[in-house]
């Protein structure tokens, strides 16, 4: 019998390799990690013991809240600052700034994140850093809680404003010029045209870009880890750094995966916002 596959069956068969990979490298580790959150388990000691919700209770009774606060401060700072800078540069480029500048502004974005972080590590170094040299000060930018988070946000902003700029510039370039011309004819000035023409037109793309950057920053690791390692005294410890430290420096897989589970729940909320916005 020569059975022919339906289009639906064929589509499923094509998906098999992808699904197998997904199950092997995403679904299984994810489920395994979530399950580990209910056990006391070490990275180096053999065996594990079921502890129910104890790991979650420990976290919610202590480390979770300062880490959440740090993560939100970093995420908001490292999203709003590049958004504002990127938007301003996109407007300037769209208004006629020379095109080659676009390439120049993209430069920080093409440098690997770890390299950017090391560059800024030397800039901020308290004892032989460039910034103190220029300012003639002896400030411990990365060693004081008050300045460490600002330094981390500045570094991340430098690395990510170009992406924001490109996204917003693409949006601006889809805007019909006639809208601005018509508004000008009606007597609208530059600020009024920005508020009444540009902002409404850009709302969707700016919202998506902002939300995506927010989600990425919520998970961000390398800049913070290289610059401060989450210090001083936990002042820049975000979820990414806390999970890494707990699992791979503290060897405590139970608490690390429990913290990862809570972090993932928060990310799911953000993802729901993103999907809703994208489908709107």
């Amino acid at each position: 019998m020569n059975r022919r596959l339906t289009d639906g069956q064929f589509a499923w068969l094509l998906m098999v390799p992808g699904l197998a990979l997904f199950l092997a490298i995403i679904a299984y580790p994810l489920v395994s990690a979530l399950v580990t959150g209910f056990f006391e388990q070490s990275l180096v000691l053999p065996g594990r013991a079921f502890v129910g919700l104890d790991n979650f209770a420990d976290l919610l009774g202590g480390d979770f809240w300062p880490v959440l606060r740090n993560t939100l401060v970093f995420t908001l700072g490292a999203t709003i600052a590049p958004f504002v800078i990127g938007y301003a540069l996109a407007l300037a480029l769209d208004a006629g700034l020379p095109g080659w500048l676009r390439g120049v502004f993209l430069f920080p974005w093409v440098i690997p994140g770890v390299v950017v972080s090391f560059l800024w590590l030397w800039i901020f170094n308290a004892n032989y850093g460039v910034l103190n040299g220029l300012l003639g000060t002896h400030v411990s930018w990365l060693g004081a809680p008050a300045t460490a988070m600002i330094a981390v946000i500045v570094t991340k902003t430098w690395a990510s404003f170009p992406w924001m700029m490109v996204m917003l510039l693409a949006g601006l370039q889809t805007m019909p010029k006639e809208l601005h011309e018509a508004a000008s004819v009606d007597g609208a000035g530059a600020i009024r045209r920005f508020r009444s023409v540009t902002v409404p037109h850009m709302r969707a793309i700016a919202g998506i870009a902002f939300l995506l950057e927010f989600i990425w920053n919520f998970q961000h690791f390398d800049t913070i880890y290289v610059l401060t390692g989450g210090g001083p005294a936990g002042a820049t410890k975000t979820f990414a750094v806390a999970v890494y430290d707990t699992a791979f420096k503290g060897f405590d897989l139970g608490h690390a995966t429990a913290l990862g589970g809570l972090w993932m729940l928060l990310l799911l909320v953000l993802m729901a916002f993103y999907l809703r916005k994208e489908n709107a």
């Binding site: 308290a126 004892n127 060693g143 809680p145 210090g231 405590d252």
Partner: protein, 426 residues
């Protein structure tokens, strides 16, 4: 042109996937087919952080190459930065991706030994001619899991030229004299950090010998005593130095070495390796002549100076090529010509009686002085016996950092550190 129908396309995709899977499962070029635990294995690995450090990598490479040439084997080397080394090695060992010989800081042995994957090197230890103290640094629960590569201590190093300029006469012997010396150095200005003490969490474990200096035993029996009056006094003193800018913020061992190498620090903590490292970094070629080890100042005259034992061992992961790797570990740590040549290059004292007696080692004034002033009274860190020792030190370091940056009083912070450390004693 012939076109593929859907069925043919699917077969082709299936064959490609099968081919890729088979290729992925095939033995790799790295000698996956080497016989297990075979002394005649022609290929094995060697993981070492020293291969990542400018001052030592050439000397370590020379040892590796000499053994490879002599025995006709290939040694695949791998390296990670010191501050990331323990967790990288732990992850690789857990994931079955680590084989062959592995350099370890003696403080990490318990953590890796707890994983039950290290080879017993008792046979190599018995014939190596190591000193008893050195051998003890590679022993875990009565098994010889590491062969000692170098054994020494972490102590204070001074720049005598800077001290002379500041008007400091003689080496400070008490905490009070030490503080006076730091204040005199501070008056020199010019961006000099009087004491480049660790203030980043990664090396804040350097506070532990100061806690002992102030009278804290750190542990009594199985009870952690961090948080007692003596340890609180030590941290408050450290904070006083920090606030007076006698120690600098944002400093770890590597920053301290850089500052000292540039003549921008009068004192810092390091191992005996300090001379080789600083010499490699310093623009002042005569700096090593101005370096002097000093016994850690004591609280009152007559107290015993405190120092932490320090050293490297080479362990071997059980399994593929482990016998050959064990032979390499034995060669690197006990072959007299090799260890003395290694000493000449990096100034790390050997661990065998024959190596220590060699005129090149015994006649080295700096090493002899270091041994006499620092190693002689050095003791192990009491937390090393626990697999979670690194977590215990991190718990203490983070709380000391909280004190330094003014987030918490010393008493509260150390009480929290002790509370965090208690469940980690396993």
């Amino acid at each position: 042109m012939e076109t593929l129908n859907r069925r043919a396309a699917f077969r082709l995709a299936g064959l490609s996937a099968l081919g890729a899977a088979l290729a992925a499962c095939a033995p790799d070029a790295a000698g996956g087919g080497a016989p297990k635990g075979d002394a005649a294995a022609k290929r094995f690995g060697f993981t070492s952080w020293s291969l990542n450090e400018e001052a030592q990598k050439a000397a370590v490479r020379a040892t590796v190459d000499a053994y490879a040439a002599k025995h006709g084997v290939r040694i695949d080397t791998a390296s990670f930065p010191y501050n990331e080394y323990l967790n990288q090695v732990t992850l690789k060992l857990r994931g079955g991706q680590l084989s062959g010989a592995v350099q370890l800081d003696i403080s990490w042995l318990a953590a890796l030994a707890a994983m039950g994957k290290l080879k017993d090197l008792g046979a190599q230890a018995a014939k190596g001619g190591y000193t008893d103290v050195a051998l003890s640094s590679g022993r875990f629960q009565d098994r010889q899991l590491g062969l000692p590569w170098t054994t020494g201590s972490i102590g204070l190093v001074a720049n005598t030229e800077v001290l002379k300029k500041a008007g400091v006469e003689g080496m400070p012997a008490t905490v009070e004299e030490f503080e006076d010396a730091l204040r005199k150095v501070a008056k020199l200005g010019g961006g000099i950090t009087p004491y480049a003490a660790a203030t980043k969490a990664a090396q804040l474990k350097d506070i532990l010998p100061w806690m002992r200096t102030f009278g804290s035993p750190l542990m009594e029996g199985d009870t952690i005593t961090v948080g007692d009056d003596a340890s609180v006094a030590a941290v408050e003193w450290y904070k006083k130095l920090y606030d007076a800018k006698l120690i600098a913020p944002d400093v770890d061992r590597f920053d301290a070495r850089a500052l000292f190498a540039q003549g921008k620090a009068a004192f810092y903590d390091d191992a005996v390796i300090a001379r080789g490292v600083v010499a490699a970094q310093s623009p002042d070629k005569s700096l090593t002549e101005k370096m002097a080890p000093l016994a850690r100042p004591v609280l009152k005259a007559g107290d015993q100076p405190q120092a932490l034992l320090w050293g490297h061992v080479i362990v071997v992961v059980d399994g593929e090529g482990s016998d050959a790797a064990a032979d390499f570990a034995s060669y690197a740590t006990s072959d007299t010509a090799t260890v003395t040549a290694f000493f000449e290059k990096v100034k790390l004292p050997p661990t065998t009686t024959a190596g220590l007696a060699d005129p090149k080692v015994a006649g080295d004034a700096f090493t002899t002085e270091w041994t006499e002033k620092i190693t002689k009274t050095a003791t192990p860190n009491p937390f090393w016996r626990y697999a979670g020792y690194a977590q215990i030190e991190t718990a203490i370091a983070e709380q000391v950092q909280a004190v330094l940056v003014g987030q918490s009083p010393a008493k509260d912070a150390l009480a929290r550190a002790a509370e965090t450390a208690k469940p980690l004693q396993k």
